[in-house]
């Protein structure tokens, strides 16, 4: 290395010697000596000589001058020469940053700031790429507080040095000082990005965030700064004030607990910073602010085991809460005092002390003091004013804190004189006027304040109080108060809002609920809070919480209100008793009422609860006597209360003394009492139960008071139900008359869901069973989303039940069956989908789940029990069965359980699991239900044992079925099949007799069922190859139920079979007759009918009819299900028409051969086709 260097040096020296006038060579030599040679002064001197020579030879070489400058400044320490050399270098090349920086450093050392600025400016003016100059200039301008110039220079410099953190920081500072905060934040952000440890940038950007109100971001910045520099007081200060800002935001939302948590953190931080710098007044002031806010927002928290609160616990918890607030206020005051001690010239600290001591006074309840002496709050407020008499804020503070109204007014007016647009002063002035009863002036002041600053809460509250006192437009009052509460969640506003909500009917509003809950946190010692909270809970049916609240209200009333007025106690106690009674706790309610009675405070409402509680506890005599007391007072009550009292009395009379006595008493009562819709319902209901219609005149006159459409349709449904009872016999309700009434009512009110669903329900319940398809149509599922519990059944329940009851209305897929039902029920709703929708809306609804299971089972049966559906059903059923509601022993519940067990059993049977099938069925047979239902459990057991070949048990179950009997024909028919198939020994015609017996009950469908029975018998005969008797049975069946295409088809087919066996040719014409009937009767063209008909006609020699029917047959099949034989027949048909060249028909769309090939392709296992194919090919 050294040698190489030497060689290069020697070579250069030789070249220089050779060309002593070449400046470039000399410069190179100088450079080599300067940089690459030993760091000795000697070498430098030599280098300098060469530079000098080079510069002399070529005075335009700026770099040579730069190095000379370096030499003079660093080696020979000749500052003047150095300066000159640098200047020369710069004048040659203004972008030479080394020279520039060196020059400026020299000037800086010499304290020649103006020269420095001039040098930079000159360089920057000469070249826009002299970034060093811009940077230097920018720093200098920042130093000289020339912010806008600095921004320009720095912006330019940043382009040259984009990664220089200092530069960005300086730029941020300049922006900050110019008030361009977002730009400043960006610059600081860039600084932190480049160097994450820049505490200054972090703190400054944090401060800006606080100023802009983004406290959260500010807090993050300060936290980061503190991680780098844990002793940084300004970061602590910023963090504490950021947390304070966040907490105030929360408090304005009403999140007191959240605010308190943040303030706790803030006070920790503030404490740390006071330890670090205890002599800064602003830190003490901040600490005071934090403590003051804490005292103002610390919430009272209801303990969670709160339902059984007793008075001592409650008092203790209130005391504890108050004490916390009090201590915080004291600590705030002390902090302010410290701050004042450190900076006694700051007037605002005086007002702070004034405010905090005022808070201490209110918490300490020292309000009844002597009015003549000056109190500390007033004194301190005056102290502030002595320092700054023209500060209007201080005047307003004095106005709020002063004890004398005159002084208050004076202070506020004085504030307004200083600034007439002071909204706060106007607002407080309004409050003052209102207190003094000068409403007009108050209103003016509030209006004034609101027009200046609509975001101030007080004037809105004032306005709402105004509305309230005028007792008109309470909605407007509510709205204004709501606005006040939303702007500032103050307890007084919140309680006012809740009271207005009660008056104006906004009781379900969430805003009000939130407000009263927040009020409870800040004023747990106000009985109103708890009482109102109780009322709101009660309106939401949360009686337990309501009871707890009323109890708390009473504790608060007794413990914290100065003078307990009896009417307050009575109101709360009656609320309590009512809630207890509604929660089902009659005993406690009774106790409350008795206490009230002892004190003579029991009013009409109390009496109602009293009587009701007696009745609920089974003490009928006392209940009646209280009812009598109540009746005595009815005439003096206001109308609404009178109506409820009368209805209660009527109901009690009916429930305790029975129908006759109730009717007689009602007849004795004066008619004026019944002028209310509420009573109308009750006496209508009583009248409906009364066969002799004694109340007819009373009822009809009271019905005049039904006003709304809703009430009228409810009355119609009640009348319809009444007709069921009145026109029905002892064992059977008169569904027809109910349905008739509902139809008329529905004609008047076509959009009443209540009437529709009741009509659907009645149609479904009708024992004739032939209106089910209408039932699903009359209730509109699509129009109502909410399955509200209106009436007895919801539209969804009727749809689901109807779909199960009416097989035709649920089967929709022709892939699985061809419905022959003449009702033409199209599955327009899609019951399963609708039920799923409903279940999605109300997943807890057991009835809907049950109906879905039944519908799914129907679907599974239709689709021959596919595996996946069976799994779903199994899961659904097992969960439904485990539901606790089936432990209930009433019949509807047990019936549902029974059906579910049967479903489970059926699914097991189909899945081949006989053991669980038998288990479920046995369970089902032990359910407490009438025999007619249990029959089916045993029927299922028969089937299960039959599958297991357990003839003994089968016989047993069969006999059990015969013993139990059912009124469902289908049950008997199934039993018949089992009997014949498994050759169960029995008396011959007991089944037929039973069937006929149960058919008698349903006259409309008697023939139909007998037809089906004959069908069953004929099927049994066919199984035994006895076609002749089968034909006889079927002929009978067709006679009884001629419109049923299914029966006709069977008859036709049997006749064909008989004809085929050659027994008699008359069977052919019989077959043709039946099949033609079947063809005509079926709603959807049935397959096979036409094919058979074609065959029969063909056999009789009518070729045209054969063709016509075959063509018909083609269209009766869904495309994907056409059997091979159909293609084969079409082949024959095509061949026939090919001869006639008839191209318009369906068979001619392809050649006969193709038809034939399709037949083979569809069913390649048929030997007949292959044989024929051979013939054709050959």
């Amino acid at each position: 290395m050294e040698e190489e260097k030497e060689a290069v040096l020697r070579q250069l020296e030789q070249s220089v010697e050779a060309n002593p006038h070449d400046s470039a060579l000399r410069f190179d030599l100088g450079l080599l000596l300067w940089e690459k040679w030993n760091e000795t002064a000697e070498a430098k001197e030599k280098a300098a000589e060469h530079f000098l020579a080079s510069a002399k030879l070529n005075p335009q070489n700026g770099v040579a001058f730069r190095y000379l400058g370096h030499y003079y400044s660093r080696v020979s320490l000749d500052i003047q020469r150095a300066l000159k050399c640098y200047q020369r270098a710069l004048s040659l090349n203004p972008e030479d940053s080394d020279s520039g920086e060196a020059l400026c450093d020299l000037l800086d050392e010499g304290r020649k700031e103006t020269l420095e600025v001039a040098a930079c400016r000159e360089a920057s003016e000469r070249s826009p790429r002299a970034f060093w100059a811009f940077r230097r200039l920018g720093y200098l301008q920042v130093h000289q507080n020339q912010w806008s110039e600095a921004v320009q220079s720095l912006q330019h410099a940043v382009r040259g040095y984009p990664t220089c953190a200092d530069l960005w920081e300086a730029l941020g500072l300049a922006y900050n000082r110019l008030g361009r905060f977002t730009a400043a934040i960006k610059s600081y952000g860039r600084t932190i990005e480049l160097e994450p440890t820049r505490v200054f940038a972090l703190v400054e950007s944090g401060n800006i965030f606080l100023m802009l109100g983004s406290f959260k971001k500010g807090v993050e910045q300060f936290e980061q700064a503190l991680q780098i520099s844990p002793q940084c007081v300004s970061a602590y200060y910023g963090l504490a004030s950021g947390l304070l800002g966040l907490a105030k935001e929360c408090i304005h939302l009403g999140a007191f607990k959240w605010g308190a948590t943040l303030l706790g953190e803030a006070s920790q931080v503030a404490k740390t910073s006071t330890n670090l710098a205890g002599n800064l007044s602003c830190i003490w002031k901040l600490n005071g602010d934090i403590q003051l806010s804490y005292a103002q927002c610390y919430p009272w928290v209801e303990e969670d085991q709160g339902l059984e609160f007793n008075a001592e616990d409650f008092n203790a918890s209130i005391f504890c809460w108050k004490n916390t607030c009090y201590l915080a206020a004291i600590s705030a005051k002390f902090s302010y005092q410290r701050a004042l001690l450190l900076a006694p010239w700051q007037a605002n600290i005086y007002t702070d002390i004034a405010i905090s001591s005022d808070l201490i006074n209110t918490l300490n309840k020292r309000t009844g003091h002597d009015l003549d002496t000056w109190q500390p709050p007033e004194k301190m407020a005056l102290g502030a004013l002595l320092l700054e008499a023209d500060n209007y804020d201080f005047w307003v503070t004095l106005g709020c804190l002063a004890n004398h109204n005159a002084l208050k007014q004076h202070a506020l007016v004085r504030g307004l004189q200083l600034d007439v647009s002071l909204a706060v002063a106007w607002a407080y002035l309004g409050k003052l006027y209102r207190k003094n009863g000068e409403k007009q002036l108050a209103k003016q002041a509030f209006d004034c304040s609101r027009s200046i600053d609509p975001s101030l809460a007080l004037p809105w509250a004032g306005m709402s109080a105004d509305f309230h006192s005028r007792d008109t437009a309470s909605d407007e009052g509510f709205e204004s108060c709501l606005r006040a509460v939303q702007i500032l969640p103050l307890v007084e506003f919140q309680i006012g809002l809740a009271k207005l909500a009660l008056v104006s009917g906004h009781i379900s509003s969430s805003q009000v609920f939130g407000a009263i809950r927040q009020a409870m946190q800040r004023a747990p010692h106000y009985p109103e809070c708890h009482n109102l909270n109780g009322l709101f809970c009660e309106s939401r049916f949360d009686y337990q919480s309501a009871i707890a609240s009323y109890r708390l209200a009473r504790f608060a009333l007794i413990s914290f209100s100065g003078n307990v007025s009896k009417s307050h106690v009575r109101d709360i106690s009656i609320n309590l008793a009512r809630s207890l009674s509604r929660a089902g706790n009659a005993l406690e309610a009774l106790k409350e009422c008795e206490i009230l009675k002892k004190e003579g405070l029991l009013d009409a409402e109390g009496l109602q609860i009293y009587a009701l509680s007696f009745w609920q506890l089974g003490k009928n005599d006392q209940a009646l006597s209280e009812a009598r007391n109540l009746a005595a007072g009815v005439s003096t009550m206001e109308r609404k209360l009178a109506a409820t009292s009368v209805s209660l009395i009527c109901r009690l009379l009916y429930s305790i003394s029975g129908l006759d006595s109730a009717v007689n008493s009602i007849l004795k009562m004066p008619k004026e009492l019944f002028q209310s819709s509420k009573i109308s319902f009750i006496i209508s209901a009583i009248n409906a139960l009364d066969q002799s219609n004694r109340l007819e005149s009373v009822v009809s006159s009271s019905r005049n008071y039904l006003k709304s459409q809703d009430e009228i349709s409810r009355m119609h449904s009640l009348i319809a139900l009444g007709k069921l009872i009145k026109h029905g016999s002892e064992y059977c309700l008169a569904f027809q008359s109910g349905v008739a009434h509902l139809k008329k009512a529905l004609h008047m009110y076509p959009n009443s869901c209540l009437l529709r669903s009741l009509l659907g329900y009645l149609l479904l319940s009708n024992e004739q069973w032939n209106d089910t398809h209408v039932a699903t149509r009359c209730c509109n599922v699509g129009a109502t989303y909410s399955p509200t519990k209106e009436g007895l059944k919801t539209a969804f329940e009727i749809l689901g039940a109807g779909a199960v009851a009416c097989y035709a209305s649920s089967c929709s897929n022709p892939k699985f069956s061809f419905p022959t039902c003449s009702y033409q029920c199209l599955d327009e709703h899609g019951a399963i989908e609708q039920l799923q929708k409903c279940l999605h809306i109300e997943p807890w609804n057991q009835t809907i789940r049950y109906l879905l299971i039944l519908n799914l089972l129907q679907k599974a049966r239709e689709e021959r029990f596919p595996h996946h559906l069976c799994i779903v059903l199994k899961r659904l059923i097992s969960v439904a069965l485990s539901n606790e509601c089936y432990s209930n022993t009433d019949v509807p519940c047990q019936y549902q359980r029974f059906q579910l067990l049967l479903c489970a059993s059926e699914i097991s049977l189909q899945g081949g699991n006989q053991i669980s099938c038998i288990d479920h069925a046995k369970n089902a047979s032990s359910v407490m239900l009438p025999n007619v239902y249990l029959f089916f459990a045993h029927l299922l057991l028969c089937r299960a044992y039959a599958v297991e070949d357990d003839i003994m048990n089968l016989q047993k179950e069969y006999i059990r079925c015969l013993e139990l009997k059912t009124n469902c024909q289908i049950g008997w028919i199934c039993l018949k099949f089992i009997e014949s198939r498994y050759k169960v020994q029995t008396e011959t015609n007991i089944l037929e007799l039973s069937l006929k017996e149960c058919s008698l009950e349903r006259k409309n469908s008697q023939d139909m069922w007998m037809g089906v029975f004959y069908l069953a018998q004929s099927l049994i005969c066919i199984q035994n190859q006895d076609f002749l008797s089968a034909e006889e049975f079927l002929a009978q069946a067709c006679l009884l139920a001629s419109p049923e295409s299914c029966l006709q088809l069977c008859h036709g087919a049997t006749c064909m079979e008989l004809a085929r066996n050659g027994s008699d040719s008359q069977f052919l014409s019989l077959a043709i007759r039946s099949l033609t009937k079947a063809q005509e009767a079926s709603v959807i063209p049935l397959p096979i009918v036409s094919a058979l008909l074609a065959q029969a006609e063909g056999s009789l020699g009518s070729k045209e009819k054969w063709k016509k029917n075959l063509r018909l047959e083609w269209f009766t099949w869904p495309p994907e299900m056409r059997p091979a034989e159909l293609f084969f027949q079409m082949n024959l048909l095509a061949r026939e028409s090919e001869a006639r060249s008839d191209t318009s028909q369906v068979e001619s769309c392809q050649s006969p051969q193709k038809w034939f090939l399709r037949a083979i392709h569809t069913n390649p296992s048929c030997a007949r086709y292959w044989k024929l194919l051979q013939k054709i090919v050959v």
Partner: protein, 317 residues
């Protein structure tokens, strides 16, 4: 802030669409919209033109809820018969099938880190937590029964849990029940913390603010949207305006706005600083079951799904 309609697909499913969520983008593809419907399918859509990527079948009753893992690789769907199918988003391979008694699975949500799947346990009155590595049940957070001397009626003693939400730090779970209470749990200790009161009808949707772990939004059948301080159990804001049940709520990624879908067939955008609805979209013709914001990566999107079988996509700015 405003919403601008981008694209609407009529008849996106054959039946009512009940659930929707965004699957986050992965290295190889952009984010996808995942929807579940009564027609027993789950579909994947590619924004912004909502091109159908794939249709997953296999559920036996309507799909009630869908959830996407934060990695964007896997997703889960649940149906009325309470099978949860966990699948690979890109290949549709089944990763796990979680089984619970029917009615004991309702809403699904992955935690922000993706290690736990929380399942609103419907009739079991609990939230079930499944480990996403082993797919084992790791915890059951049960709602304690009310202590009252005697429950007023049989149904109220057991709550049906409809909805569930994770706080953005993953430390809390909130679940909403049919009686209107919201319950908050501590996840790490698997412990019940407290109830949030204020709703009195079923709470069908819950979401925490992404900006503030204490802030919880709830949508209820009582037509209100509530804003809670979930730690301090305080109701701090109520927004009313929907004419019927509020079925779904989601917060915008910046935490400044929420969107709601309702039975009144509208989608509303609410400005949280004003606590008022700033925009109402009424392009759906039936109740809106789901609204969901897409966060991350450029423009912000909102998707809504409805009983009218359609899906709508909006731009949020």
């Amino acid at each position: 802030m405003k919403l601008a309609g981008l694209k609407s697909i009529e008849n996106a499913h054959d039946e009512s669409v009940w659930a929707a969520t965004w699957v986050p983008a992965t290295a190889s593809r952009s984010a996808l919209l995942l929807t579940g419907s009564l027609d027993e399918t789950v579909k994947l859509w590619k924004p912004d033109d909502l091109i159908l990527q794939r249709t997953n079948t296999g559920h036996c009753l309507g799909v009630a809820s869908v959830a996407a893992h934060p990695s964007g690789m896997i997703a889960a769907s649940s149906s009325l018969d309470s099978f949860i199918r966990v699948f690979d988003v890109d290949t549709n391979n089944t990763i796990a099938t979680l089984e619970a008694p029917p009615s004991e699975v309702w809403q699904l949500r992955f935690d922000p880190k993706g290690t736990i799947l929380a399942v609103a346990g419907g009739g079991s009155a609990s939230v079930k937590l499944w480990d996403t590595a082993t797919w084992n049940l790791v915890a059951t957070l049960s709602i304690p029964r009310p202590e009252g001397p005697k429950p007023s009626d049989k149904t109220s003693s057991k709550k049906f849990v409809l909805s569930v939400a994770w706080s953005p730090d993953g430390r809390r779970i909130a679940c909403g029940s049919m009686d209107g209470t919201i319950t908050v749990f501590d996840v790490a200790r698997a412990k019940f913390l407290h109830h949030l009161e204020g709703h009195y009808m079923p709470v069908r949707s819950l979401v925490y603010s992404p900006a503030e772990p204490r802030l919880l939004f709830s949508a209820s059948d009582d037509t209100h949207v509530h804003m809670y301080d979930a730690e301090g159990k305080t109701l701090i804001g109520a927004m009313s305006g929907h004419a019927s049940w509020v079925l779904s709520v989601d917060v915008s990624p910046d935490g400044a706005a929420i969107a709601t879908g309702s039975s009144d067939r509208t989608v509303r955008l609410w400005d949280l600083s004003m606590r008022a609805a700033v925009q109402t979209m009424s392009n759906h013709t039936d109740q809106v079951w789901g609204v969901t914001f897409l966060s991350g990566g450029g423009a912000c999107r909102l998707a809504s799904v409805s009983d009218d079988k359609s899906i709508s996509l909006y731009d949020y700015s």
